[in-house]
């Protein structure tokens, strides 16, 4: 291998990439448990399909647009790496192979659109959703990843490299980006039938807990892996992730107990995710004590923020806005207060003698990503809605989207139903009569 290659760093980032991959099925369970029985599978597969679509697009042009040499002003990468050609086995990003870096970043590109799906649970056409993912990563995620994550000695992305916005592992590029896109999409699609009237209780809190546990576990790869090396910064990012998440669980539960009188399971799971989201941009620049503060603030603030949808009347089904947009913004802004200047970055926050400088930069990053994501996501959503239609019919929505869109159901509860239904082994295209004949002949 060439000079500068580190086997330790490479092993660590490869494993981190695998951990981050697990977050997407984890997210599927987190969301899947929160919807009603009749739409469980649709919720699961809305996340899962992102693994398929984004991986292919990443190879074709996604990696190049995100991490190819800058095509101008730090807005987007060029097309040097179309089809991931021209990347050799011995080419390095820092101390790790370019392919290692590319697969790690791919996992971020996969989970970001999957996060959006929670905002439009129970009512999106699957084909329209798949098309949205393809267009959204192309027009929103790939450019924003370039803005935030692409460093090239001052010639990289305009937010991260050129203006010093700190986003260690994706508070702006992933969470604000997805959260705001979720807001745009739920405005385009409209409310679920029966919103605010029918009970829409989660059908399986154990699934939600399983999902949030997998997310928590995978997030260590997400945050620590973002150091791109097995070093002290990675270690600090990992411990900060654990601390802030724990604090956020407590923050959410205490808020809930005071406000609603119960410590709920869903609150504990949601608090964990809120803490993970908030510490993501900050984990490489704050101290463990700062992480406790960020977690407590994020937990309580996100618990309060989820009531926004009832106040303003938009149906963000699974609180993507309240948890990801608000949580991401809190984490990004708190970097401007709690960055110590001694962990991974030299920039200091307000509480560590850095003045308002970094806070201003963080606010600019939050605003830039939020505005861009909202506008483009809304336009994309409208374009799909007005052409092929983004929403299923009311009948389908009431009956449950699983059977209409996927010809499946998540659970078989009925002992009687089994004796009333009949399995037809005929391959697609055969009529019932020929199928019967085949059966008799056999």
């Amino acid at each position: 291998m060439p000079d500068g290659f580190s086997a330790g760093d490479t092993a660590f980032v490869l494993i981190s990439a695998a951990l981050v991959m697990l977050m997407t099925p984890g997210l599927a369970f987190f969301y899947g448990g929160m919807v009603r029985v009749k739409s469980t599978l649709n919720m699961l597969v809305m996340s899962f399909i992102s693994l398929a679509i984004v991986t292919v697009l990443w190879v074709l042009y996604g990696y190049s647009l995100s991490f190819g040499p800058d095509a101008g002003a730090g807005l987007i990468g060029n097309l040097d790496f179309l089809g991931m050609q021209g990347i050799g086995l011995n080419d390095l990003t820092g101390t790790i192979p370019v392919t290692t870096f590319a697969v790690f970043q791919l996992m971020f590109a996969i989970i970001t659109p999957a996060l959006i799906s929670g905002a439009i649970a129970d009512r999106a056409k699957f084909g329209a959703w798949a098309l949205f993912i393809a267009l959204w990563v192309t027009l929103v995620y790939f450019p924003v990843a370039h803005w935030v994550f692409f460093f090239d000695k001052g010639n990289g992305g305009w937010l991260g490299d050129r203006n010093g916005v700190i986003d260690f592992a994706g508070g702006t590029a992933v969470h604000i980006n997805a959260g705001v896109a979720g807001l745009a999409l739920c405005l385009v699609l409209g409310k679920r039938v029966g919103f605010k009237r029918d009970p829409m209780r989660p059908h399986s809190l154990p699934l939600v807990m399983l999902g949030s546990g997998l997310l928590w576990f995978g997030w260590f790869g997400f945050n620590a892996g973002s150091a791109l090396a097995a070093n002290g910064v990675a270690s600090m990012a990992l411990i900060n992730t654990q601390i802030a998440t724990a604090a956020a669980v407590l923050g959410w539960l205490v808020y809930e107990k005071l406000k609603h009188g119960a410590f709920t399971t869903l609150g504990a799971a949601s608090g964990a995710v809120a803490g993970l989201v908030a510490i993501t941009p900050a984990c490489g620049s704050v101290s463990p004590l700062g992480s406790i503060a960020i977690g407590l603030i994020a937990g309580a603030a996100c618990a309060a923020a989820i009531s926004l949808k009832y106040r303003f009347g938009f149906d963000d089904s699974l609180d993507v806005v309240g948890v990801h947009a608000i949580g991401g913004a809190i984490g990004s802004l708190l970097v401007g207060l709690f960055a110590t200047g001694t962990v991974g970055q030299t920039a200091k926050g307000l509480f560590y003698g850095g003045g308002f400088d970094q806070l201003g930069k963080q606010a600019m990053g939050v605003a830039a990503v939020a505005v861009y994501s909202f506008v483009v996501s809304w336009l994309l959503g409208q374009a799909i809605h007005k052409t092929i239609g983004f929403r299923v019919t009311e009948d389908v929505e009431v009956a449950g989207i699983d059977q209409a869109e996927h010809a499946e159901s998540a659970y078989d509860f009925s002992a009687m139903g089994a004796s009333l239904s009949r399995a037809t082994p005929a391959p697609a295209g055969k009529t019932e009569k020929t199928a019967e004949k085949t059966e008799v002949g056999a």
């Binding site: 709920t264 869903l266 609150g267």
Partner: protein, 112 residues
């Protein structure tokens, strides 16, 4: 013949079943049921959204008995099902015209 129907708290089922067996009842039908009486249901909270759940889980027991046994059986059943707290349930009886044992075709009291 009479059909005795009882709606009781699920956790009283074993005691009621034992009491009915001791009384000499040969068969009964049990169904999971839900409903509410004066006590209504309960409230659940999910991320701050409160859901009032009206229907409370109950068990529905149905027993066919001869007319002479009906009153006494109702007493046995009520005694076994009672906890003294709200939501203990209801028991009622209705006249039955006929009953047939499917296996043998026996009718009336013989079918019980």
């Amino acid at each position: 013949m009479k059909l005795i129907t009882a709606i009781i708290k699920p956790h009283r089922l074993d005691d009621v079943k034992a009491a009915l067996q001791a009384f000499g009842v040969h068969g009964l039908t049990v169904t999971e049921a839900s409903g509410y009486g004066r006590q209504r249901g309960h409230t659940e909270v999910y991320r701050g959204a409160e859901y009032t759940v009206d229907l409370v889980p109950k068990v529905r027991i149905e027993v066919l008995v001869e007319d002479d046994d009906a009153e006494q059986l109702i007493d046995v059943l009520v005694k076994a099902a009672r906890t003294g707290k709200i939501g203990d349930g209801k028991v009622w009886s209705v006249p039955v015209e006929t009953a047939v044992r499917v296996r043998t075709g026996e009718r009336g009291p013989d079918a019980l």
